[in-house]
């Protein structure tokens, strides 16, 4: 029975666990509940992913109302893969979080913090699972609103978290509103909210001005959430001032989920022909992606705070996603999806390592990293591996990403783009080099009491680090999954659709 309903339980179990955290007064109990929910979601996502690969699309009708009338949870190769990413990062962050949260959040607020964490987690899982465009908006708001709160909870460490959260709230809300405005237009045109049904009804409307406006609103809305250059302004402060664990969670999942929604809009709701042939979107995405990669990487070079370096690097990575999409080919899309997975793993791992440093030193400026290579060897080793992966050294997952992105650029014959991609990864070498050099080669600050982070933080972090290496050495799994996802999105977005004959 659980297997049959797994698609919904996946989302609803964290959502059930969240109020239980409110009711539990003890932070430890709340953490236990959250960890159980996270682990359940993780196991569930793997089972669902295997099911989708073996048996095809899973469709779950909520309340037993058949789509397009009822809300449908629809898992294909693309979103079940994203589901794995989200629940993996989410589960690891929750497991890691106990000690870090004890340090950064006041004790009374900790159960509520876990509640928000679970809400955010469930919201992202919901966005990923649902096949209904409006339901997607609802889950998007669940995840966005709770993430604003989570960012604001960094105020205990630094009051600037409040303004950061406010900016994030304003821009995030604009993004969500733009999405829902666009959705409203599409609904007016098609009379349906089910994405698959929408896709069928849209065909033949390519000339419609309303559709073009709707498309623009939806893309810009999601662009804001994805922090596409130049819509990235909310991201650096939100990441820098949020509690460490929130940064790790958001960096690993929030932009990935936004990217997934963007792909859904581009490839499922509007078939690939519309954005790329009728609207020539690639000529917008390509320069924006390149500008994002370079501007953000160069800004990252001059940051004095490690979290901010990583945050700007995340904006640069959004540029890579966009490049992959702009190739408008299966290869490019696959590269984007591979990078989506890989970046989630490595960036979360990096932020968790920074979290360990914050736990011990209370600061995350580059200066406070001095000499940590000897004092916190395991943490810094994980950081170095993550950094190497971001640079794209072979045998790490970052290399796989870069390989497929460059290959996709060459397939299109866009060799200057290929050069730009390697040049961008070179900038990563410089901004990570600064931090790693400080950690290993500069004399430490006077405080000699700093020791290695506790095992309960190291173990989850190293899970990500090890997968960063293992999946880099053997990329068969991720690449074939990403290929299946890309083909599902690109080649036959409407395959396996039931012939809805709505009103």
């Amino acid at each position: 029975m659980i297997l049959q309903h797994l698609a919904i339980l996946q989302v609803m179990l964290p959502l059930l666990a969240a109020p239980l955290c409110v009711l539990s007064r003890s932070p430890l109990l709340a953490w236990g509940i959250a960890a159980l929910a996270g682990l359940f979601a993780l196991a569930g996502s793997f089972i669902l992913f295997a099911q989708v690969l073996n048996a095809g699309v899973i469709s779950y009708h909520i309340g037993n109302w058949a789509p397009p009338w009822g809300i449908e949870f629809r898992l294909d190769a693309a979103n079940s893969f994203v589901l794995v990413v989200v629940s993996l990062v989410g589960a690891v962050c929750i497991l890691y979080g106990r000690r870090s949260i004890e340090r950064e959040i006041p004790e009374d607020d900790q159960p509520l913090f876990y509640t928000m964490l679970l809400l955010c987690f469930a919201g992202m899982l919901g966005v990923t699972s649902t096949g209904d465009a409006f339901n997607l908006f609802v889950f998007l708001e669940i995840f966005s609103l709770s993430s604003y709160v989570l960012v604001a909870m960094g105020a205990e460490r630094d009051r600037r978290a409040l303004t950061a959260a406010f900016t994030y709230l304003l821009l995030g809300t604009i993004g969500a509103t733009f999405y829902v405005i666009g959705l409203g237009f599409v609904y007016a045109l098609t009379g349906t909210l089910n994405m698959a049904d929408m896709a069928v009804r849209i065909t033949g409307m390519a000339g419609s001005g309303t559709l073009r406006v709707a498309f623009a609103f939806m893309i810009i809305g999601m662009g804001l959430k994805l922090a596409i250059f130049p819509m990235h302004l909310w991201l650096p402060n939100a990441y820098a001032f949020a509690p460490s664990i929130v940064t790790a969670l958001l960096a690993g999942t929030a932009t990935k989920v936004a990217l997934y929604v963007l792909l859904r809009i581009l490839f499922t709701i509007f078939s690939p022909a519309y954005p790329f042939e009728s609207q020539t979107l690639q000529y917008l995405f390509l320069p924006l992606g390149l500008a994002g990669v370079f501007v953000a990487s160069i800004v990252a070079l001059f940051q004095q705070d490690v979290k901010r370096v990583l945050a700007w690097s995340s904006i640069a990575q959004s540029g890579y996603f966009l490049l992959g999409v702009s190739f408008a080919s299966v290869g490019g899309l696959m590269a984007s999806i591979v990078h989506l997975f890989n970046h989630a793993i490595m960036k979360s791992g990096l932020f968790l390592a920074v979290g360990c440093v914050v736990y011990r030193t209370g600061s995350c400026s580059i200066a406070s990293f001095r000499g940590l290579g000897h004092k916190m060897p395991w943490t810094m080793a994980a950081f170095v591996i993550g950094g190497l992966s971001m640079i794209g050294i072979p045998a790490t997952i970052g290399f796989t990403s870069k390989w497929y992105l460059i290959l996709a650029a060459l397939e299109r014959g866009w060799w200057p783009v290929a050069i730009a991609i390697v040049a961008g990864s070179l900038l990563a070498l410089f901004y990570f080099g600064r931090i790693i050099e400080a950690a290993y080669l500069q004399p430490s600050t006077d405080d000699s009491t700093i020791t290695e982070a506790p095992l309960s933080m190291l173990a989850p972090m190293w899970m990500l680090t090890i997968s960063c290496l293992a999946l880099g050495i053997d990329s068969e799994l991720t690449v074939s999954a990403a290929r299946a996802a890309a083909e599902a999105l690109f080649l036959d977005p409407h395959a396996g659709l039931p012939a809805h004959t709505g009103p």
Partner: protein
């Protein structure tokens, strides 16, 4: 507040009526305009009026924040629980038909439970927000700060 006798008497007269209206909107929601959200807001407004007239301290006594938090979670749990009830009875998530032998009665029961859950959560949330904001205004710090 001792001197504002008109306010005190007026409020005492109005509050039960507001609550009654809230209950009407709540339970009539299945058939006509209304529903849990509106009912919750109206219900909370009765308490807020009480708080305006008799002071925040008094309001805290009748509606303490910890209880409100539990109520919020409880409403939420009822909502989710109704969904799980559908599963437990062998249907889909949030499947109302299965809640009773008669599908129509099942739908009725299901929507009743959901609206109830929404009502509880909305009412307690509104009250909590009012208390927190009011505390800020009067310079007090709440435990939620």
């Amino acid at each position: 507040m001792k001197h504002h006798i008109i306010l005190r008497i007026g409020a005492k007269l109005l509050i039960p009526l507001i609550m009654l209206l809230a209950l009407y909107v709540q339970f009539h929601g299945d058939y006509g305009p209304g529903g849990g959200f509106q009912a919750g807001v109206i219900f909370a407004s009765a308490f807020i009026l009480y708080g305006l007239v008799f002071g925040l301290g008094e309001l805290r006594r009748v509606a303490p924040l910890p209880i409100l938090m539990k109520l919020m979670a409880a409403g939420w749990l009822i909502y989710i629980g109704t969904g799980y009830l559908g599963l437990a009875l062998g249907g889909m998530y949030l499947d109302y038909n299965i809640l009773s032998s008669d599908p129509v009665a099942g739908q009725h029961l299901g929507i009743f439970l959901i609206e109830l859950a929404v009502g509880i959560t909305v009412a307690s949330t509104m009250l909590a927000i009012y208390q927190c904001f009011n505390a800020h205004q009067s310079g007090e710090m709440t435990e939620n700060e």
